[in-house]
Every structure is written in C-alpha cells, then in structure tokens.
Symmetry: C5
Subunit: 344 residues, 5 copies
Amino acid sequence: MTITYTLDVSSAKFSCFARLLMRWRGSIWKSVYRELGSWLIVYSLLSALYRMLLNKQQKHVFEDVVAFCYVYSDFIPLTFMLGFYVSLVVSRWWEMFNCLGWIDNIALYVAAYLHGTDEWSKMARRSIVRHMVLLEAMTLRDISPVVRRRFPTEESLQAAGLITATEVKAMKEIVSPNGKFWTPVQWSMSVIRQARQRGNITSERAVKEIYDRLREYRTALGMLQCYDWVPIPLVYTQVVFLAVRSYFVIALIGRQYVDGERHSVIRSPIDLYIPILSILQFVFFLGWMKVAEALVNPHGDDDDDFECNYLIDRNLQIGFSIVDGACNQELPLEKDAFWSDQVP
Amino acid sequence: MTITYTLDVSSAKFSCFARLLMRWRGSIWKSVYRELGSWLIVYSLLSALYRMLLNKQQKHVFEDVVAFCYVYSDFIPLTFMLGFYVSLVVSRWWEMFNCLGWIDNIALYVAAYLHGTDEWSKMARRSIVRHMVLLEAMTLRDISPVVRRRFPTEESLQAAGLITATEVKAMKEIVSPNGKFWTPVQWSMSVIRQARQRGNITSERAVKEIYDRLREYRTALGMLQCYDWVPIPLVYTQVVFLAVRSYFVIALIGRQYVDGERHSVIRSPIDLYIPILSILQFVFFLGWMKVAEALVNPHGDDDDDFECNYLIDRNLQIGFSIVDGACNQELPLEKDAFWSDQVP
Amino acid sequence: MTITYTLDVSSAKFSCFARLLMRWRGSIWKSVYRELGSWLIVYSLLSALYRMLLNKQQKHVFEDVVAFCYVYSDFIPLTFMLGFYVSLVVSRWWEMFNCLGWIDNIALYVAAYLHGTDEWSKMARRSIVRHMVLLEAMTLRDISPVVRRRFPTEESLQAAGLITATEVKAMKEIVSPNGKFWTPVQWSMSVIRQARQRGNITSERAVKEIYDRLREYRTALGMLQCYDWVPIPLVYTQVVFLAVRSYFVIALIGRQYVDGERHSVIRSPIDLYIPILSILQFVFFLGWMKVAEALVNPHGDDDDDFECNYLIDRNLQIGFSIVDGACNQELPLEKDAFWSDQVP
Amino acid sequence: MTITYTLDVSSAKFSCFARLLMRWRGSIWKSVYRELGSWLIVYSLLSALYRMLLNKQQKHVFEDVVAFCYVYSDFIPLTFMLGFYVSLVVSRWWEMFNCLGWIDNIALYVAAYLHGTDEWSKMARRSIVRHMVLLEAMTLRDISPVVRRRFPTEESLQAAGLITATEVKAMKEIVSPNGKFWTPVQWSMSVIRQARQRGNITSERAVKEIYDRLREYRTALGMLQCYDWVPIPLVYTQVVFLAVRSYFVIALIGRQYVDGERHSVIRSPIDLYIPILSILQFVFFLGWMKVAEALVNPHGDDDDDFECNYLIDRNLQIGFSIVDGACNQELPLEKDAFWSDQVP
Amino acid sequence: MTITYTLDVSSAKFSCFARLLMRWRGSIWKSVYRELGSWLIVYSLLSALYRMLLNKQQKHVFEDVVAFCYVYSDFIPLTFMLGFYVSLVVSRWWEMFNCLGWIDNIALYVAAYLHGTDEWSKMARRSIVRHMVLLEAMTLRDISPVVRRRFPTEESLQAAGLITATEVKAMKEIVSPNGKFWTPVQWSMSVIRQARQRGNITSERAVKEIYDRLREYRTALGMLQCYDWVPIPLVYTQVVFLAVRSYFVIALIGRQYVDGERHSVIRSPIDLYIPILSILQFVFFLGWMKVAEALVNPHGDDDDDFECNYLIDRNLQIGFSIVDGACNQELPLEKDAFWSDQVP
C-alpha cells in the first residue's frame, strides 16, 4: 500500500516532521529494524568476546584486525554509488507509475461519443470499460505477485467478472506462443466498429478519438511490461547491494571500541558499549538503500508499492459509473451566481 | 504565497543579491531562526555547564565526549544525501506546478467554437468554465489544507457559486465509493454535445477540439492527485530529515570549544563563545533542507507554496471574461502602422 | 545581449580556447573583477595590518584567528551546493528560452491557409502577426526590465505600432483585475473566424490548424510568466549566495600568510604577498556562482541575458515578410540540376 | 539475453536480495571473474617475489615503489568519472530500448481500418506487418552482430520469409549509395493506398492514422540507427576505461602488504596474504564499469543486451495474429457480471 | 567525422576494450598528445633546472615553491566542476543532434500524398525535397564552418544545384534584415497548394499532413540555430577551461620530484624522472575536458563533430530516391511464406 504523508508536511514546521518520524508503516524504522537488530547482536558478541574471553595476545590480534578494517573500509565508494543508483531507481519508479493505466479518459470519451440508451449501447460501453480493465489485470498479473495471488488462473479472472466465458473461449482459440495482451483491445475496437455501423457513433472522427484513447492506454501498459522485462542491469543492483552490505560487515569489526594504545587511528576518546554513531550511519545508509530496494520493483509487497489491486477495482467502478452516466438525463443549464456581476 | 524575486535579480550585480538577503518572507532567515535559536540555547547551556559547573575530572569526560562527537560526525553522509534529495524534490515540485490547470486554452476554444449570442449560448459557455473551475476546486480541496479551509464542505462550494443546487443533487445521486472528479467533465461534455445538436457548434471537429482541451486539463489535475497520493517514499524523506537533525544534535556537543590539551583534533586555535562557523554551517544545511521541506508538499501553508486559492479565483474570472468576450462586437480590421513600410 | 562564441570553439584546439579567454563581454573577467578587486583590497589591508602594525602578542592573536578560519572553512559545503544549484538554474534557463515565442510557424500557416490578395486579406494576415507580437511584448514587459524600459506604458505600445487605438479602447473596456493577455489571442481567433466566413479560409481544418499554432504560442508565453511568477525558492538562492560569500569573507583572514610557527596547518612553505591560489579559487567559485546569478533571471540586463527587444522586432519583421509573401506570384516549377541523374 | 530479476525483488527483504546474489547469468560475478582472476595472479606473483626472492636492499626499493603507488593513486578521479559516465550510458541505453519497434499498434490499426475478408485484404494486412518486421530486421542487422549472424546476407532475409523474391528484385533496382531502409515503408504506404482505392479502407482519416503509426515506427528505428552512428564520444569512453584499468594496475603494487617500517602510510596493522578489501574494491569499481561496458552497445552479445532476434520473431507472430484476428467473427455482446449492481 | 565504435564494444570483454584503446582518430591520444607533450617539455626543463643548475640555497627556494604548489592545488574544485559541466555539454550535444533534419518522413509523405506521374508532379515532389535540403544547407552554413567552407556564397548553393536561378532572384527581392530561412518552406507550401488545386493532392487532410512534416523539420532546424545563438554561458565555459589549465600549470611545479627533507608532504618514496601518475592524471582530466571542448560546438572540425556535409548529400539523395519511387509500378501482393502456418 502506498504511504501518503503529504498532509503531514503541508507546512515546513519542525513539529510536522517530528510527527513524520513517529510513523511505522513504510518508515525507515520498519525497513531497517531487522537488519539493524542482527547487526547489533553480532556486534555485541564480538565486543563481548574481545572484552571477556581473549587473553592479551589475542586482544592484540583483534585490535590489529579492528584497525585494519577501520582504515581500509574507505576503499568502498559507498555514498556516490548509492546516490547515483537511488536517483536512477527513483526516476524509473516514477516512470513506471505513469505507465499505470487510468480508465477515466477512455470512459469519458466512450460516454461522449457512443450514443444510445438501449441495452445494446449500454452493453457496448460497459464492454469497452471491462476489456480495458481486463487488459490491466492481465498485465499486472504478469508483473505483480500481489495481483497474481488475487488472479492465480485465467478462471479467477472470469470469476471476478472481468472476462466472460465466451471471451475466455475466444482467447483460448488463438494460437500464440507470446502473450495475448492485444485481444481485449481488438475486442474493444470491434465493438466500436459495430457501434459505428449501427449509427451509435456518428462520425469517423469519433471512432478515431476513441481508438486514440485505447492506444494510449495500451501503449502505457505495454511499456510497463517492458520495464518489468528489462530492469536495471543486474550487475548494477548487485554492486550496490553488495557494497552496502560488505561495508557494514567490515564495520562489525572496524567499529569495535578497543584499546587504542597500539593504533592511533582507532583510539577513541571514550569507550562506549553502544556504537551510537555507527548505528546512525547504519540507519542512514541502509535506509537510503531500502528506498532503492523497495522501488526497484514497485509492484510487490512492500509498504510503498503501488496498490495494483485497488487500481483495478477503482478503474472498473469509475469506468462503469462514467459510461452509465452517459444515459442519464442531461442537466438543464442555469444562470450561475455571477451572471450579472462584471467580475466574479 | 509564492515569493517572486526575479525582478530583484535582473542583473547579476552584488547589490541586487545583497538586497535579496534583506528579505524576510520566504527567506532563509525566517526558515531557520526558530531551530537555530533553540540550538544556540542548548549549545550555550552546555557551554556554560562545561565552563562553570564541572570539576576537572568531569571536564575531562566532557572533553572526551566532545572529541568523540567531533571526530565521528563524519560518518553521516550529509552533503550528498541532501544534494540528491533536494534535486528530486525540486524536480517533482516543478512537475506538480505544471499540473495545475489554467483555464485560458479551454475558454479561448469555447469562445471561438461555441457561437451564439442568445442566453442559452452564454449559459453554456459560462457553465463549461464553471465546471472546470469546480473540478479544480474539488481536486485542490483534496490536496491542499489551505483550499480545504476555504471549502470545508460541499455546501461551501455551492455557496461560493462554483456548483448549483441541481448539480449538487445530481452528484449526490451517483453511487460511487471513489472520487467523483469526472462528473464536472462529463457535464461539460454534455453541454458541448447539446450545443452541437442545437447548431451552436458547427462542426464535429470543433467538438473534438474542445474535448481535447478538457481532457488535457482533467488529465493534469488527475496527475496532481497522483503526485499527492504517491509521494516520495517516506523512508527517503525520513532518512534525510533524520540525517540533518542528528548531525546537528551531535554538533551540539562536538562543536563545543573545550580545552584541547588532551585531544589534538579539537584543539581550536582560539576559544570563541559563539561558534560562528558552526552557525553558518547550520544555516546552510538547514536552509538547504528547508528548501526540500517546503517543496515536498507545495500545496500547504509555507511562504513558498503555490497560491491555490488565487488560482481558483483567477481561473473563474479570466474564464468568464474570455467566454463573455466572445459575444462582443468584432473589432474592425485596420491598416497597421507599418502598412506601407518595406521593413517595420 | 547574448554572447555567441560557438564559432570560436568549432575545433577543440588549444588556440581556440585561448582566444576565448581574451574576451571581455560576458566573460568571467567582467563578472568577477569588481568583487575580486574589493576582496584583494581588504585582504591587503589585513595583511599590511599584520605585517606592519601589530606587536608580537597581537600577532599571535591574529595568527590564531587565521588558523581558526583556515581550518573551519571546510564546514561550508560549497562545491556540492554550487554544483546542484547551477545545474538547476541552467536547466530552468534553457526551458525559459524554449518558451520564448517565435512567430515563424504561425506566420507560415496564416500565409498558407488564409488566401486572398485583396486589402482585407492582407489586413487580416498582418493583424494576426501584429496581435501575436503584441502578446509577446505584453508578456515580456511584465518580466523583463529591459522591455519595460522600452514600453513603459500601454501608450508606448501604441506608439510603437503594436496596438491600434481601437484595440487599446477595446482592451480598456474589459473589466478584469487579472492580466488581459488573452485579448490579442481572442482578436486573432476572431479574425480567423471572419476569414472563414468570408471564404478566405476554405476549410474548418485550416481554422483548427491556425488555432493550434496560436495556442502553442500563447501557452509558451503563459509558461514564461509562470517561470517568472514561481522562481526557484528564495531560500535556495539565498543559501547558495550566502555560502559562497561567507566562504570568501572567512578566506579573507584564513588565507593570510602568517608566521606558521605556532600552527602547523597554516605553515606555508613560502610567504607570498599575493595569494595567487586563493585568487584562482575566488575566480572559479565566484565565476561559477555568476553563471547562476546571471541565468536565474535571464530577462534582465546581464551580458548573457536573452535579447527580448530584438526578438520582438525580429518577430514583427519576419512575420510581416512571411504573410506578405503569401500574396506574391507563385514561383514556376523547374527541373532541378539532378533531373536526369540516377544519384545526385 | 535480458536478465529479468524483478520477481525476485518484489519485496525488500534481505532474503530476496541474498537470492539475487546467487545468480550467475548477467551477474557481477560473471562480469568480473576473469579480470579479477588475472589481477589476483599477478598480485600473488608480485607478493611472492617480494616475500621470497628479493634481498633486503631490493625489498627496500620494492617498499618504496609500493608506498609511491599507494599514495599517488589518489590522483585518479575514479568515483566521479564513473558516476557521471554510468549515468549517461544508462540513460542512453533506456532511450535506445524505447526506440525498438513494437508492431502492436500498427497491427491493431491495420486490423481495425483495413476491412475485407477476401484473400487480397488478408494479403494486404499481412504484407504491412511483414514489411515492418523486415524494416526492423534490416535496421537491427546494421547494428547488432547477433542479428547480423542470423541474417548474414539479404538472401537470408528472403529465406526467413521476411522478404519475397519480387521485393528483393525491386529493392535491388533502386540505385542508392545510402541505406534503403525507406523501401519497406513505401511499400506499405502503397498497399494502404491501393486498399483505399479498392474501398477496403473507407476514409481518408483511416489512411492518415495508419500512416501515423508507420511513421512513428520508422522514426524510432531511424533514431536507433542514429544512436549507433553517433555513440558517446570515443574520448569519454576511453578516459573512463583507462582510469579504471590504470587504477587497478597501480593497485597491483600499491596494495601489496609489505614491511611498513620505513613508510608509515603503508604500515598495515595486519599482514594478509589475500588483499580482501582491495578485492572488494576491485569488484565494486569493475562491476560498476561493467554496467557501462555492457550497456554502451546493448545490441551485442552480453547477458544484459536486448534480445533483438526474439523481438523480430515476436513482432512477426503477434503482428500476424492480430491482423488475421481481424477477419474473425465478432464476439456477441453480453451483459457483464455487474450489470445490475450499482457498484461493482 | 563521427567516430563509430559501437561494433567494437558489442560485448563487454576485455579484448574489445583493449582494441578500443588502439584507435587514433577521435581518441584520447589524439586529443591530448599536443598539450601533454608541451607540458612534459616544460616539466623536464624545470626538473633539469632544479637538478643541475641550482645551488643549494636556490634549491631550497624551489622546494618551498613545490611544496606550496603541491599543497594548495587542492583549492581548485576540478572534479565536480568538470563532472557537472560535461554532463551539461553532453546533454546539449545530443539535443542538437536531434535537431538535425532528416528528410525521410517528408519525402515519404510527399510521395504518398502527392499523386501523379506527369512531369509537373515529379517536379513538384522533387522541388519540395530540394527546398528542404536547401533550408538545411542554409541553416548549417550559418552554424558550421565546415559547411560554410563548402558553400561560401549563395552562388555556391546555386552551383551545387540546391537552388535555381529563379529562386535566387526571388529570395534577393525580399527585403529583410533578418535571415530568410522561411522562404524555402513557403515555396514548398506553395507547391503543395498548387498541387491541391490541380488535384494531385486529393484531400485537405493530406495538405495538412505534409505541412505538419515541413513544420517539424523547420522547427527543428530553427531550434538548431537557437542552440548556436544562445550557447552555454561564456562564463561557465571559461571557468571550467581555466580551472583545468591552471590546475596543470600549478602541477608543473607542484609535481616535481624534489628533495623532501624539509617538507614532509612532498617527500616521495621514490625519485622518478618521469611523473607517471601526474601524466595519467593529466590524460584523464584533460581527456575529460576534451569531451566537453569537442562537443560544445559539434558542427566544427573535430573528429567527433557531426558530419553536416554528409547529411546534406544524404538527404538530397534519399529524398529524391523516395519521391521518384512514388511513380514506380506498385508491387503485386503475394502470399507470404507463413500464409498457411498457424504460428510463423
């Protein structure tokens, strides 16, 4: 589910942002608490080992390793890599969001151009809406495990009322090793053609206009499949993922508070049992990384992922409402409240 | 309210920019003075504590903590994170601005294509404008607390003259769990269809052209809702917010001027009571952060937020002016001043 | 005036770029010489003070302050902030440039679609061009102090021949608290409608095509007003401006060549009277900043600002040339030079 | 072949990403193992040389060289250069992907507008699809060595059924020193014109709509050729390539664990035989570089390259399926499952 | 000439990239060898001076200066400035490339819509192509010194067959202080209008479609002039240019290998006669800079500049081929090879 917090930040006061930090769902705390917990446990075990179990000579070895890890962890170019990677992921994430199909324009155009109050016209209008939502469901099933769980089989689509038995049969008759995402579009185009022949659509221009809306919708959903098919190269994701993780694995040792007698670089002014600043760093870097991890596939189960199932339901309902509204009585025009004012 | 300062910077002279610094509304000073004040108070208390109350041994502990905080505050990757985050927020802010609807194109097209000087035509033209402004008000109510305060209920929209009683009733009759933002568009399309049937619009092409303008307007406002519904992932905002704040919490201690005998890193050449450079740093980083905080939801109360209420009024007024102007007498053509010049 | 130097850099030879450095107008030298001069004077005064007037103890204090300023000036995150800010300003600057209206497409379409060789047709064509240039002048007056100086009052627009007395009167009759930028567009649309009725325009499609060109032009100019109305948030500009300036104020002291006996960090290998490298740094950072300062409002007086007045004149002249050319005799077609070649 | 891993990362759990690391195809491991292996071998030889063969004086020289390489390798501005370069390459890579042609829109429009169930109509529809796939194959042959291997000669295109003997002959008759990529488009346009004359296409508008789809497709493929013709400037690629490689050549020596007695900078707290952190750094930087190397020409043999051959086959099959579906019986309209519900 | 190397990098093997380094044209080696050579000569002279001519005291002064230059060269913010500047230049370079006009779409539309096999039709079609290529040549003459050398005068355009004597005369008759780039477009539009009147073009829609293509082409070329007229602000180019050069001027001294007795920072572990790592750094930074220098005006003489002359020839040839092909016999439709397969 998408986490909306914009109302919380409608003004840039400190209190607004403090409240923001209290949230749990979709928050940094929820993202990192598991890994931070594990990290702290291992850190503590190592710390206890050093402080309680090792003899002097072993301690010296441990200190050497600590100094080694502390110094050379600079070799990992973390900040930059993360910065560029997160930028890339965020921009792809938003482009993907823009590819999600909204039924509104299609439905408004169908309602405006496909006239008639008889049953056939109503069926035609509703069919086009249904086909488009079916296309969306078919596409999202392919991409999102959440939608896939809702529609595990083609039968479940039929059970949900998105496709009729006749259509299932027609679709099965098509022999095609590749996806059949074009069938609902073709059905809709065929409905429009019939409506034109019956005179429910009164001009060629109207046909073209509805086709244009269908095409925009289909092209966006096709693009969505492409984003899924060709993700950010695996190497890039792995490099960044590994860099962050290995940085903190090394920090497990490198950030231990040990006797700094022998190595000035790790000589800490105070001996803390809890590595506060390392924890902060952990939270920031891992939180930053988690932004990327959640957005790299925004159709999944994360708190911040797109609500694909909601979108399908919403499109079906809004689409039907709009096209059914087309048969309604037209509102009579009235003079508005500013009719005789020079300036409203 | 938007802060316009472009005239102040029409030339890149030093004086122009000096004048810019004197401003208060929307300025860096107004953004940070509260938090800077609090920070300075806590800083002073700590400083006084160290200088006056602690004994020598306690001072040593304090110095250790200062050295610790000073050294390890480098762990927080502030600059980069802020740089990338502010970039992202600024680009989304501008995209959101571009989604705000301007009535001009719709009104000009309606005025140009929907002919007739009788009362019905005038009502038709004004209705379309009113519906579109209503759509804008409905959308902004959902997003902006400022507009919400102006139109707390649907009745307030009616009181403001944006919607008529008949329309309120019609809208209430529609059963829909989701928003009904499409209704004003459908009403307008229906008005256009009637005008076509009555002959006020003389061609199918004109119908299509006005529909196109309505669609662009509606799509932009729909996009605006999406920007509100799917903000920058909460984790990202939290990470950056926390990083800046914790950096300065640590600096509260790390930037104290203490006796540097025992720790060379914090041995300051001079002992200042006021940490001038830390204050500067505070102003720069927090000011930078405030850019992001103000822009992350640009429909709120901040000085720099979009003036949504003004936009609604402006669109209503300009829209009515344009469509009423359509009935005006046409201007007679005249020869221009360069009529007989070869080159003007 | 825009500074064009592309021909100078048509090849990437050293000499080309050396020549580039010799320029004065719009150059880095012209941008920074004033501030660099002031900085050097204050620097010299401080240097003289230290070398000549202070006694030993005072010198020690001075040296302490120098060391302090030298060390902690690192707190100011200059490079990054400037990098991101300049990127933002440059991209907005170019988007603004793209919003400046060019009359060519409108004029070519009017010439192609609005037929007729009588006086009325010629007046109609020229009126449309004039109205569009008027719209541009009205818009730029609002934004650019340079154009405002040229057209201080509405009368000056009339004197310049951009608007006729009848039109001024018509515009004054419109009661509108907001700008009347839509009036010239509406006049043009009305001219087109008349031409359609008189048969000078032979199809509805042509009407639509010219309307489209007018709309593109108007929308771009409206966008330009938005860029002016909603600039980069003031805080951001102030933060960057302050950061650069305070960096160099601190450098005034921090970069003094003093006796480094007591502070190793400022122990310079040689004692220079002129701080060559600090000057270089000053030139680079301030020059970089000046890029942003000049571009943040590109309609002003700076060397690199857009030549708005030229654009208005150019559009008027080109527009009239194009639409008058429409009445010209058509050129007879000829066989080209490659008529009988298989491959030209 | 494209490496799809989005399902693996549908939630941001640690386990998901751990699984991601296990992959081989397209992975960082496969990218770097060869170069990492070579590097380790040379590193070990040098290490063995130092530890076993050199006498004391030679060791001193070796240590000096190590210290030298260690210190001055900072001169290479690796991180930034890589960051900016990879950003550029990734954005070009995605733009190239968007230029790959998808037949769907063309086929759907042809099926919708080009009526008729006789053999001629079917041939016409199929020809247009075939011509467009031929255009794609011709374009990709020019760009991708993989497609070139599949279609080494023009005859192989004929053998694959993408072009007929008549068409091959017609194409050969055209005398043109430049590519003949426009011929299939012209053939298709000619087929559409014939269909219009025979009445299979019933309006001029339909002709225009199909032309538009063909043009979009052709323009995208033309753009693809441009991306191939004008790559990122060679200098840029060379600079980044060289920087990464020379950094690690220098690291071969600079990262040796030697006796740090004489040079404090290289005095490592522990003496490792395996330079773990240098290996990690190697993996990260080289992996990052490999992202760029694989994407700079995404039509090649790399694991992450676009599957051009698949695309050709897919377009042919989907295209034929769509246009043949046009002749199918139209589906009868039915009431949907929510027919009598107020809200679905 | 554009340097195409994409085939070389079709797979990300080490050997591919090694081969890439061997290239000379457009390579980093060719870019930097002159400046690197000069730098090395001055460096050697200074080195010889220090090693051979100076006495002990002079040597000490020299060493001081070296230490000074070495330490303070950090003041120059090279990497970032270059990174942001190169990003900007590269993105403008590609936008400029996209503004270069390709005749294909125009020619295909003219061939498809302007019917007729008589001489007049052929002349009409060829004229439109010729006018458009003329427009391109006129535009590029203004921008590119290479094209200017090819067409130094307007007569040379006539000699090249791009413009006829009648047209030259017509163009000269137009009094216009500004460029006359619109004349070829107007001539073409006039030809289309004549063709419409003669019936060679059968619908108003076709006229509009060809106009659209002409407009796209003209607008792109107009944009190209704008890119030339309003380059990246001179200050920015100068700042970056100066920063790189002064960095290496300072390095001439700062990177000398001198006796480090007295200054620990410049104490090099080994005394090299050849400053290998400084050379590498020189190559990388200057190479990076050269990317920008070559692309800042991509219409010049550099190896990587656009091949404007080729483009003009190519457009003329392809344009004529396409429009002449229109008269050709239409190909008879045939059944394709997969006619009876269910799945191809």
